[in-house]
């Protein structure tokens, strides 16, 4: 295949011959029997089901899988004619989470870091820093603190930081999975601009295909069983009915297709469970207020979705509504229907009272795992509430969330989708009337997404109020109900 763009002199050619990698301590290979040639300057979108080894391939190309202590390699993987680990600086990798890849405190230093590691002379480093920041469109002073950036800016910074190596191969591992819609386009456009200038080879992994389908020359689909399932121009691969079906079945977000969801269509809401008047929320006691003047009504059997850009204070609002943070000012009242014998202020409820009324599912499921097995995890809440728990209810929830075959497993060893299901299940175990979810669909494949939406629709039908912090428009549409948009420190009801 010939690339549609003129390859730059430094662009990298990738060759895999029967390549595979097995992480130490795992029985199965994460990726196997991979035979590939990616021409210098080609732009490739790498797809596959969860667990098909996409990230492993990217990490292998970046040369960060580690030594033979950390796993076993078979076959051959080459950048031009060198093993990736020996080709330091030829490949630049950007990871999914904008928060976990910032190394230094200042923007300029962060970009300079990689060039320093490659022993680039000082004068040239600062030229490269300026050029890289230009390329990604980050017009910030060099001493700007890296903590004071939005998610999209952080990802563009990560991109600039690898560009300072002048890599011939750009590797992006779900670079937009954690971003709001504006951030997604910001990062995508920055990548396109960078490729136009550098002509580097691109390999990008992303669940949401539509973002990249127009940018790439070629789509490669990895088979979960090893090897390649489909390979060709985007229109050819994504246009073939058979491939589309297989991709959809594997949980890939194929453009122009949405996974079918079940469950009854949500109707109109019932009684008010929780209401706020002129509520101001803040993350810390003395820190700045996140959102002011919130007027919210949470109704039984209705969804309420909170949207808005990254960092607008959506999560802080949700934590406050969930009785976990003290309101800075204004009122937050639980109705009698929700509070029962407890008082009207959710923040003053004891933990055991809280879990019977409001369940909050955090963005990171692992933050909420407390025990060593799935069964104990499910029984934990009901036992805390006391008064004898019903083992049938636990079994019922496990059944409903397809966790029955995992009851003896350690929660931390589950897959991403399973962890998400378990974190929802643990909250449902104490039958709260309000369920709060923070970015429940971030980085989820289409299968897990459809499963979650179906479950939430059923819950709404059963009378639960589902409050979500999200910018997933399809999710909001499927759940119906009200939408609150938070931006610039204030909230506005945009749809009912």
């Amino acid at each position: 295949m010939t690339p549609a763009h003129a390859p730059a002199p430094g662009a990298v050619h990738v060759r895999a011959r029967g390549w595979g990698w097995r992480h130490a301590g795992r029985r199965a290979f994460a990726a196997r029997r991979l035979d590939l040639d990616i021409q210098a300057g080609e732009r490739v979108l790498l797809l596959g089901a969860s667990g098909a080894g996409k990230s492993t391939v990217l990490h292998g190309l970046a040369g960060v899988l580690g030594s033979s202590d950390e796993g076993e390699q078979e076959g051959e993987l080459l950048l031009d004619d060198a093993a990736p680990a020996a080709a330091r600086g030829r490949a630049g990798l950007v990871l999914q989470d904008p928060e976990t890849q910032v190394v230094l405190a200042r923007v300029g230093d962060e970009v300079a870091f990689a060039a320093e590691n490659l022993a680039v002379p000082r004068d040239e480093i600062w030229q490269r820093v300026g050029r890289a920041l230009d390329d990604v469109g980050l017009d910030l002073p060099l001493d700007h603190p890296t903590t004071a950036l939005s998610g999209g800016q952080k990802q563009r910074l990560a991109l600039a930081a690898v560009l300072a190596m002048e890599p011939g191969l750009l590797l992006l591992d779900e670079p937009t999975a954690n971003l709001d819609p504006d951030g997604v386009l910001e990062v995508r456009d920055a990548v396109v601009r960078v490729l136009e200038r550098t002509g580097a080879t691109l390999v990008v992994v992303e669940h949401r295909v539509a973002v990249w389908a127009d940018v790439v020359d070629r789509v490669i689909v990895l088979d979960a069983g090893g090897g390649v399932l489909a390979d060709g121009a985007p229109a050819a691969v994504l246009g073939q009915e058979r491939t589309r079906e297989r991709l959809a079945a594997a949980g890939v977000w194929v453009p122009g297709w949405q996974p079918p969801v079940g469950g009854p269509l949500p109707g109109t809401g019932g009684e008010v469970l929780l209401s706020s008047r002129d509520l101001t929320v803040a993350r810390t006691k003395r820190g700045p207020a996140a959102v002011e003047g919130l007027e919210i009504e949470v109704r039984a059997a209705e969804a309420l979705s909170i949207t808005g850009p990254n960092g607008a204070g959506k999560s802080t609002a949700a934590l406050t509504l969930g009785g976990l943070l003290r309101p800075r000012s204004g009122r937050l009242d639980a109705s009698e229907a929700l509070a029962g014998t407890a008082g009207a202020d959710p923040f003053r409820w004891r933990s055991s009272q809280l879990v019977q009324r409001i369940g909050t599912v955090f963005q990171e499921p692992e933050h909420q795992f407390l025990t060593a097995t799935v069964t104990e995890e499910l029984e934990f809440g009901p036992r805390r509430v006391g008064g004898g728990y019903d083992p049938r209810r636990t079994a019922d929830i496990a059944e409903r969330l397809r966790l029955t075959h995992l009851l003896e497993a350690n929660p931390f060893t589950l897959s991403g989708g399973e962890k998400r299901r378990l974190s929802v299940a643990t909250m449902l175990a104490t039958a709260p009337r309000i369920l709060i979810l923070d970015e429940p669909t971030f980085g989820q494949d289409a299968g897990t997404w459809a499963e979650l939406v179906t479950l939430l629709r059923e819950l709404i039908h059963d009378g639960v109020a589902v409050l979500s912090v999200t910018h997933d428009t399809e999710y909001i549409a499927e759940l119906g109900g009200a939408t609150l948009r938070i931006a610039d420190g204030a909230g506005r009801l945009v749809a009912q």
Partner: protein, 265 residues
Amino acid sequence: MSNDYLTPVLTGKTLVRANPVSKLFAAVAITLALLVSIDWVSAAVVLTCELALMPMLGISVRGLARRIWPLLVAAVIGAYGTALLAEKTGGVLLDVGPFLFTEGSVTAGIAVGLRALALALPGIFILLTTDPTDLADALAQKLHLPHRFVLGGLASLRLAGLLVEQWETLGLARHARGIGSDSSIVARTRNLLGQSFGLIVQAIRRATRLATAMEARGFGGGTRTWARESTYARLDAVVAVVGLLIAAGAMTAAVLAGTWNFILS
């Protein structure tokens, strides 16, 4: 947030511009002077000089007190404990039941309290006036410490700052699961242990991811250049000399006052 107390003030005051190595040198000189003699005169001289240098920090006495109050409390407790337990020499100042304070024991107590403060302040001064990145640059370029060690330390310092935030998030996440303030002491202790373990797990995962990101940017190779040059200026000579003068002055004053109390004698 509470971890703000550890971040540099960096208002462009004199001491901020000095190279971290010269600041370290001055601090080490002063510390050594305080360590070789246990007496109140040398400690008082050092402490006076330190407080006189406050304007170079660009921080008010109140601002400093707000950041170091736990140290003040510790110094007072240390002084009190020493005064209570030290050898009872000299005239009796207070004698109520088991509480016996004499001139000798109170002097010893004051010496311990002053020394604790005088010892702690140089470190605090460095912390408040030094950007961690500049410190890393100086340690690697001027003292030629291995760059993997220095940059690893710098990266972990950033992660340590995030621990407070992660701890709070974990606390909220666990409260939402039903673990909270309404339990017995035993349950609370177990919860604290559980939350600590959770924090460790999260910290390790985060550190692993960061290590991957660093490795993917070519970190860990043999040679490396530095984008920022760590330099010495005339100010650094001044800082070093002032440090030496304070140390020498304190020892001289103690010897002249007759309170010199060499630690090995």
